[in-house]
């Protein structure tokens, strides 16, 4: 089966994502991957929106190694922990594009995890190239470009489905990011800020398009490459939202989860 045929077997749904409290996005990932795994929901592409700035750390990262907690508090930045591995990202609502793909395991069957990362983000690379950005995949999980790293993906195969999500930098406040994240042993100097700015190639520096327009281009590209007749507009059901709120209360919004590795 060709790559295109694998995707086109399904009637993909699109959830544009209303803003929620930061940990609710993590809970929604679990709710939706479960539902896709059990067949209660068709394969889905969801964009994340949030109310507040956040640092999202990987499942296996230590909070104190990654975040200056005092600075985060001062800046009003939430700390949340994903269900997937990978690194920390600092995100402000208007500066980041985040999406999750929830698909049956069959979509990536026979593929190594490393290969499936590039496979599941090909539509994103394609979108950026169509915008004139020289984007490419840097294994295992980086979405990069000749002008610096754009973002990173993380994946987990759970509950009979694959959850694949990525955060893309649209704009970056390098000074604020360096105040909140502990990046290596670097001090917050002008030099560190310049070097962080150089490593990262936010989309706004590489295209004139506003964030919302980039999202639309991504949706168009996904529809064209991976569906027969377009993404089907969808939203979260009240049950899905209620489940996510419950999981936020009991797991993803709790200190026990966020500080599971202090």
């Amino acid at each position: 089966m060709s790559a295109g045929e694998r995707w086109k077997k399904y009637e993909w749904r699109l959830i544009r994502g209303e803003p929620v409290d930061p940990p609710v996005n993590v809970a929604l990932d679990e709710v939706l991957v479960r539902r896709v795994g059990s067949g209660e929901r068709p394969p889905t592409l969801r964009f994340w929106e949030r109310y507040r700035p956040e640092v999202v750390i990987g499942r296996f990262q230590s909070v104190s190694n990654e975040v200056d907690e005092e600075a985060a508090r001062r800046e009003g930045v939430d700390i949340i922990r994903r269900t997937t591995g990978g690194g920390a990202m600092f995100s402000e609502p208007e500066n980041i594009i985040t999406y999750s793909v929830y698909a049956p395991l069959e979509l990536v069957s026979g593929m190594s995890t490393v290969d499936s990362y590039a496979f599941l983000d090909r539509w994103v690379i394609e979108t950026f190239r169509s915008l004139g950005i020289e984007a490419y995949y840097e294994p295992i999980n980086d979405i990069s470009s000749t002008n610096g790293k754009i973002g990173g993906a993380a994946q987990a195969r759970r509950h009979g489905a694959v959850l694949h999500h990525a955060m893309l930098s649209y704009e970056m406040d390098a000074a604020k990011m360096l105040r909140v994240l502990r990046i290596g042993q670097e001090k917050i100097s002008d030099k560190a800020i310049k070097s962080a700015e150089k490593r990262v190639g936010p989309l706004k520096r590489q295209t004139q398009l506003p964030r919302e327009e980039i999202k639309e281009r991504m949706i168009e590209t996904f529809s064209r490459m991976h569906t027969e007749s377009g993404l089907v507009e969808d939203s979260l059901s009240p049950e899905e939202m209620a489940e996510a709120e419950e999981l936020t209360r009991t797991i993803y919004g709790t200190r026990e989860w966020i500080y599971s590795i202090p």
């Binding site: 296996f60 230590s62 997937t84 591995g85 995890t113 490393v114 295992i140 994946q155």
Partner: protein
């Protein structure tokens, strides 16, 4: 004690632990790697608990490898990477 090792692929592996009577204790492994199932992280840390701190890197890696079932997938790191982070912490 605290040891870090950055793998060739760029993933960071961190080991935090204490050494008591020459043995590793309170071992915690963290980093920006991927691991399935996630619960295997405590198996990895647990396999190093009580192990002599002067064990070689190879022997530490062997301990870790031996504790993990075939279903465990380490992505972006390895038993050797964890062993190296531990050794750096000991030294």
């Amino acid at each position: 004690m605290h040891g870090e090792y950055k793998t060739r692929g760029g993933k960071l592996v961190v080991a935090d632990f204490e050494v008591r009577d020459g043995r590793l204790t309170g071992v915690r492994v963290s980093g920006d790697f991927f691991l399935e199932p996630p619960e295997a992280l405590s198996t990895i840390a647990g396999s190093l608990e009580g192990v002599p701190a002067d064990l070689s890197e190879e022997a530490l890696a062997e301990r870790i490898r031996g504790s993990l079932g075939d279903e465990v997938e380490m992505i972006g790191f390895s038993p050797e990477a964890v062993a190296r982070a531990v050794k750096r912490g000991v030294e």
